[in-house]
């Protein structure tokens, strides 16, 4: 079963993906590589809407059968929405990591996303890691 990479997303070395919606809001989730490494996800601790975050902040935690993993915001700004459906169905991240977003940030500086990798670079990066 090979891992999926969405060419429309940008990826962080810490395995978050980010997508800029039409309204300039940044949507954040975790990659297929990350959900596969975590295995069955049992709980997502969501940030609060209205939280001010800086790029690099651990703002959420994804808990799997194996371990707890921090989710890092790739951009600075304000949390404007969280995916509350994850409260009842955290496993949807396993099933559809690129559909099951975690939080949305109204970014103060979209250029922070330039530090992220495109899908090809992220796939190449993962090939160098121990899975």
């Amino acid at each position: 079963m090979s891992l999926k990479y969405d060419p429309n997303l940008k990826y962080a070395e810490t395995d978050e993906w980010a997508r800029v919606d039409d309204d300039g809001i940044v949507v954040v989730g975790i990659s297929d590589y990350a959900q596969d490494a975590l295995s069955d996800i049992v709980y997502v601790e969501l940030p609060e809407v209205g939280d001010e975050v800086s790029a690099g902040d651990a703002v959420s935690t994804v808990e799997s059968v194996k371990a707890a993993s921090d989710i890092i915001s790739p951009v600075s700004g304000e949390i404007v929405e969280v995916n509350e459906a994850l409260d009842d169905a955290p496993e949807s991240i396993n099933e559809d990591p690129y559909g099951a977003w975690i939080f949305k940030v109204k970014a103060s500086d979209l250029s922070e996303l330039d530090k992220l990798m495109d899908a090809a670079a992220y796939e190449a990066f993962n090939a160098t890691r121990e899975h």
């Binding site: 079963m1 295995s39 069955d40 049992v42 709980y43 601790e45 808990e63 059968v65």
Partner: protein, 368 residues
């Protein structure tokens, strides 16, 4: 770092796509591509097959084997009949745990003791230091003996297809020697999942053939290969203790809720006075079940607090796959063990509300 040991099935697990990780000095399958949740439910609803060859086995033989066994553990083994299989443990003189064990009474005054992988050398050394004066021998048969566990409501139907022996004759917590797919096998009707099932002991060179035969035979019953993650969540729901978590050299049987094993009238055994004293005076720390009121995953070693003051620790915790609740086993002081007592589990620095609930979380099939 010392080299990890491998079981005879190591390469088979890797070929099946298992995720391997170090456990008790062995490179063991933690999960297969199905994932630990699916594996867990397979055991509750159908059957699962586990490679547990990391477990150790020793034989006790000789005229004083029974007397020696009476001396080193709390159960009255003189009450065991040939083919009985029972849970027990070894204690230090101060009553704390050396290990927990499973005792098989075999024919011809031979006993088999199943011990934890991590404790193999320690247990054998402990037994060796106390065998002086007994005409008995301890033989470590761990290496030539392979051990698999076949667990779940369909375990009997699957195993029955591979043997002429009527498995209805093998009652819970008894053993039998029989042929499984033509291989001379000792089976014990026991396990570590809260379901009916068997643990199988047979020559190591048959490991791959036996594994593949069982998986193929159990296909239509829904048998899945299961890793140690599912083994842990299954035993946790049934509140079966795991050495290094619920039991270790810092806790003792009364607090661990295991003093039901002790036969006080059988004569002296190692640790008896200390355990009896604790039984009469009540232990300082008691193992309790916790259910999270606030959402969050309690995990082993997390602190347990009452009104902000740390009073105990979590031994194992997780989201229970069967019950869908966030649950934990934890040691708390005497007085905080009543059902309904509100406590906190410190999860990443934040106190999260939890309440003391009844154990086991999942009533084992053999206790219903």
């Amino acid at each position: 770092m010392t080299e990890l040991k491998r079981t005879a099935l190591h390469d088979v697990h890797v070929a099946m796509g298992a995720r391997m990780a170090p456990f008790a000095g062995y490179d063991m399958p933690i999960q297969y591509p199905t994932g630990p949740m699916v594996e867990h439910h397979a055991v509750r609803n159908a059957a699962g097959l586990f490679d547990i060859d990391h477990m150790g086995q020793v034989e006790l033989i000789g005229p004083d084997a029974e007397a020696f066994l009476q001396y080193i553990q709390p159960r009255d083994v003189s009450q065991m009949k040939v083919w009985d299989a029972e849970y027990s443990y070894l204690c230090y003189q101060d009553g704390t745990f050396v290990d927990d064990i499973f005792i098989y009474k075999l024919p011809e005054e031979k006993w088999m003791i199943v011990i934890n992988a991590d404790n193999r050398e320690k247990d054998i050394f402990w037994m060796d230091t106390h065998i002086v004066g007994f005409d008995a021998d301890i033989i470590d048969i761990s290496d030539p003996t392979y051990m698999l566990a076949l667990q779940g409501p369909k375990a009997q139907a699957i195993l029955q297809k591979l043997t002429d022996y009527d498995l209805n004759q093998v009652a819970f917590h008894t053993a039998a020697r029989l042929q499984v797919g033509g291989v001379d096998t000792l089976i014990g009707a026991t396990g570590y999942t809260g379901e009916y099932g068997y643990e199988l002991f047979f020559p190591e060179e048959k490991a791959i053939a036996m594994w593949e035969l069982l998986l193929e035979t159990g296909k239509e019953e829904g048998l899945l290969a299961c890793g140690l993650a599912a083994r842990d969540s299954l035993r946790f729901e049934a509140c079966l203790p795991l050495y290094g978590h619920e039991i270790n050299a810092r806790v003792e049987p009364v607090g661990a809720r295991l003093s039901w094993v002790c036969d006080w009238d059988k004569g002296p055994w190692l640790g008896r006075e200390a355990v009896l004293k604790t039984k009469l005076e009540k232990p300082d720390m008691l193992l309790v079940g916790l259910e999270m009121i606030d959402k969050g995953v309690p995990r082993g070693h997390y602190e347990v607090a009452k009104d902000g003051k740390v009073i105990g620790w979590v031994t194992t915790g997780m989201k229970s796959p069967t019950l869908g609740k966030f649950l934990a086993l934890a040691y708390v002081p005497q007085g905080y063990n009543k059902f309904g007592t509100e406590l906190e589990v410190i999860i990443r620095g934040k106190p999260k509300k939890a309440v003391v609930v009844r154990r086991p979380f999942y009533i084992p099939a053999y206790r219903r």
